[in-house]
């Protein structure tokens, strides 16, 4: 994870330069970020709340990416799950004991996310179709279908803003005692650890890893590749759907039309910085959450558009690619070659 420090530092430096160019004080800005995101109780709470869906969704991405499956359509899975949870939340909460409703709704979220991976997973497993394209297409469908659902069958008649009915505050996920942080963060961490356990200690995790490193070797070894592709995709979508359920049930209680936090895009950078290791996502997501929450407030205070934050994330990705490329060039130049030497000597 120390290797992520350099691109992050470079992005911070570039951000500071940009702020100066825009006539703002980078030190004050930085201080505002830390205050609003970390050093105040309210700020820290907000940061941790923001972490819950990110950790779950990041874990979902890593499960697929580690198996060599590029589940790029995560945002579509997220929104489909969110729409269903937001739409079915109020009626279920009304008709079931609230803890049962939570369990069922989380299940619905998982199923929705998993279901949205079926098409790209099947096409990849049976026909070898590029899952980047198919999952992106499904995402486009999902994002818009979610809106159709919210503006259609799930539309609330109680407000003029197009959104679902609201799950009352008392019926949302409970807080951790003494704080205003909902238990979603606990769910996220527990699930993350379980996934880590699966990846490092189980036969299934090893099979996915082999599949991700070398698909030909997986076939040669007789691993059930088609089955594993389907299950890995489903698990990935399920975790992303769970992230949506946790976010809706913990923070909002409803889903507004055209709402798209687009966590997927920012998570790609974080997930690769973490080198596809779920444990390493924790400090990186924490860092991002601090900057996100603190930066949002800081931007308001300094009258900068909050898009500035996305700019920073983009810079991190850019610098990450640059430092990786420089590192591999330095390693190769030790052999006097532009490419690493191939296997056998002669």
């Amino acid at each position: 994870m120390g290797r992520a420090a350099l691109p992050v530092a470079m992005a911070v430096a570039a951000g500071a330069v940009l702020l100066l160019a825009l006539g703002r004080d980078p030190v004050a800005f930085g201080g505002a970020i830390l205050r609003n995101g970390l050093t105040t109780a309210v700020g820290l709470e907000q940061t941790i709340i923001r972490m819950a869906p990110l950790l779950l969704m990041g874990t979902g991405f890593i499960v697929a990416f580690q198996a060599g499956l590029w589940n790029i359509g995560g945002d579509g899975q997220f929104l489909m799950a969110a729409a269903l949870v937001g739409g079915l939340g109020p009626p279920l909460v009304a008709s079931l004991p609230v803890w049962a409703a939570w369990v069922v709704l989380c299940g619905i979220g998982c199923l929705a996310g998993a279901a949205w991976t079926l098409v790209p997973a099947f096409l990849k497993a049976w026909y070898g179709m590029n899952e980047i394209i198919t999952s992106l297409m499904m995402a486009m469908i999902g994002i818009n279908l979610a809106n159709v659902l919210i503006k259609g069958p799930f539309l609330s008649e109680k407000t003029t803003v197009p959104q679902t009915d609201v799950v009352a505050w008392v019926d949302r996920l409970p807080y951790l005692p003494g704080t205003r942080i909902h238990v979603g963060i606990v769910v996220a961490v527990v699930v993350l650890l379980l996934v880590h356990l699966m990846q490092t200690r189980t036969a299934y995790g090893l099979r996915l890893r082999v599949l991700g490193v070398n698909r030909r070797a997986a076939l040669h070894a007789g691993l059930p590749v088609k089955r594993d592709i389907m299950t890995a995709f489903a698990l990935s979508g399920g975790l992303i759907g769970l992230a949506a359920a946790v976010e809706v049930l913990g923070v909002w209680g409803y889903v507004r039309a055209d709402w798209n936090p687009a966590f997927g895009i920012t998570l790609f950078a974080l997930v690769f910085l973490a080198e596809l290791n779920v444990l390493a996502t924790i400090p990186l997501v924490f860092f991002f959450a601090v900057v996100s929450i603190g930066g949002h407030a800081a931007a308001l205070q300094t009258r900068l558009p909050s898009d500035f934050l996305l700019l920073l994330i983009g810079l991190v990705l850019l610098f990450m690619v640059l430092t990786r490329w420089l590192r591999s060039r330095r390693r190769a130049s030790g052999t006097g070659l532009a490419l690493p030497p191939s296997g056998e000597a002669s």
């Binding site: 036969a203 099979r207 082999v210 070797a217 070894a221 056998e344 000597a345």
Partner: protein, 520 residues
């Protein structure tokens, strides 16, 4: 006429000295053989001349003038062409596109000129390849033929051939020798890298023996012409293997080409593997088995599968292993049909497959040896319980296998750090353990050093002595003649014949390989 001088060339990779202060002279109109074991530094030295590696010390002179070669382009522009062991063709381009790649010619690709050049060079080399085929669909041997044409495309003054005969049939080798004679007449300086001594003696005007990065000695044309073949052979063996000369003299690479093993046929047991009128589809343009093929392998028997690379051996091996479906016929193991069983199920019944693609298919690079040894048993007891791994069992299993097969590596070392020989031994350790009954080997000693080659062949013999059966696919005819009791010959996707291993078998196999029908 001195075309190239290498003076004091040294090349080090991290802490390994691959080439150690080597002086070498190349003369026009001469075939200069670089002879040595795998790992001696022959390819590395030539890669310096070809501009791939920049030497740490030393200089390269062309026609007496020192030159700086910083990239392969520099070498090509100066008239140095190289044909490597492994193909560098772009798999999605056609043969013609690969040949035109990088050649001068302005913006418009002059296809007609290229087609004519290709036809001319193909005729001279005896190559029969359609120039419109995608390079990725060609068999390895055919790719090599295209590589030779590609090297000659720019009309080089120096031509370097790195182990060029590894993929060729005996006829193809003779054709290559004819081409070399023609190129010598045109004044080219030819470097012929090989580890096969008899080949060196056959084609070379001058032989430089390399060992551990140094040129041990160079035998000039006068000595090659004056001494007998036997004398030269002894001299070279002593240069290549100062310690093990006696034991190594038995190896087919060193003795006369294509002589039979001379062993009495061993008693054979019941049939273990029956391939019954099998038809295997080739994928993406490769040659499969189009004519129903039948072959039986008995207990205690080693059956070879010979043929020019790309005659259908790979698909056949994969079909037996279960990695590829067959479209007709049956494969039976001890009488039991395997057709509906997947790879894992066949493994459990005792069928094993040692693949030729060690790094690409057989092993998973980033994983440690301990897990690679269990790749085909993931999830099974005792190393896994309820789906969870039991690290102590994994390590115990690894330690036991490594010691049984004489592999001296840390069990946590990742597979990609292993040498070629160690990788092969790891594959053997994996496939030959847990009571194999039939093992299919695909090019088992390809690219290995002498010591490992001897060990691998010993394992194969030991395997069948214990009652199992072996099917050895190889393009190395000498190896098959030394190991096998019978040799099946594939040509162009069908079985051309099966030859018993007796005097004259080599010639018969060679004829069948290029399509001569077998006389009854």
């Amino acid at each position: 006429m001195l075309l190239v001088e290498l003076q004091g060339v040294t090349k080090t990779f991290r802490d390994v000295v691959a080439v150690d202060a080597v002086d070498l002279n190349l003369r026009g109109g001469e075939v200069h053989c670089l002879l040595g074991e795998n790992g001696a530094g022959k390819s590395t030295l030539m890669n310096v001349l070809a501009g791939v590696y920049v030497p740490d010390r030393g200089s390269v002179l062309l026609g007496g003038r020192p030159v700086r070669l910083t990239c392969p382009r520099d070498a090509i522009d100066l008239g140095i062409g190289m044909v490597r062991q492994h193909s560098n063709l772009v798999p999605t381009f056609t043969v013609l596109e690969n040949l035109m790649l990088g050649a001068e010619g302005g913006i418009r690709l002059r296809t007609s000129t290229a087609e004519r050049m290709f036809a001319d060079l193909s005729a001279r080399l005896g190559v029969q390849i359609d120039h419109d085929v995608e390079a990725g669909r060609l068999a390895l041997g055919q790719q090599q033929q295209v590589e030779i044409i590609k090297a000659l495309w720019r009309e080089p003054k120096v031509l370097i051939l790195d182990e060029p005969t590894s993929m060729l049939s005996p006829q193809g080798i003779r054709d290559l020798e004819r081409v070399l004679v023609e190129l010598k007449r045109q004044g080219l300086a030819i470097v012929f890298i090989t580890h096969k001594l008899h080949e060196a003696i056959d084609v070379a005007d001058r032989v430089s023996v390399m060992r551990r990065g140094r040129v041990v000695d160079t035998i000039g044309p006068e000595r090659l012409r004056s001494a007998t073949r036997q004398e030269i052979q002894t001299e070279i063996v002593a240069l290549m293997f100062p310690q093990d000369a006696a034991s190594v003299a038995q190896l087919p690479e060193l003795s006369e080409a294509l002589s039979p093993s001379g062993q009495a046929p061993p008693p054979t047991g019941p049939s273990l593997l029956e391939i019954d009128r099998v038809v295997v589809p080739g994928e993406r343009g490769e040659v499969g088995i189009w004519r129903p093929l039948s072959l039986t392998v008995h207990a205690g028997e080693v059956v070879g599968v010979a043929g020019v690379d790309g005659s259908g051996q790979g698909p056949l091996a994969e079909a037996i292993a279960g990695q590829r479906p067959i479209t007709a016929g049956d494969v039976r193991l001890s009488g039991r049909s395997l057709v509906h069983l997947d790879v894992r199920a066949r493994q459990r019944l005792g069928l094993r497959y040692v693949t030729d693609d060690r790094e690409g298919e057989g092993l998973v690079g980033p994983l440690p040896i301990s897990l690679n040894l269990l790749l085909k048993r993931i999830g099974t007891a005792p190393c896994w319980r309820y789906g969870f791994v039991r690290q102590d069992h994994v390590e115990a299993n690894a330690r036991q296998l490594l010691s049984t097969f004489g592999i001296d590596v840390d069990i946590r070392a990742s597979a990609e750090t292993l040498s070629g020989g160690t990788m092969q031994k790891t594959l053997l350790a994996r496939e030959l353990s847990f009571n194999p009954s039939v093992v299919v080997f695909n090019k088992p000693t390809h690219g290995l050093d002498v010591k490992t080659t001897v060990a691998v062949r010993a394992h194969i013999r030991e395997l069948v002595q214990n009652g199992a059966a072996a099917l050895v696919v190889s393009t190395d005819l000498e190896e098959l003649l030394q190991l096998c009791d019978r040799i099946a010959v594939l040509a162009g996707g069908s079985l051309a014949g099966v030859v018993a291993n007796r005097p004259g078998a080599g010639r018969e196999v060679g004829m069948l390989m290029v399509g001569g029908a077998r006389s009854a």
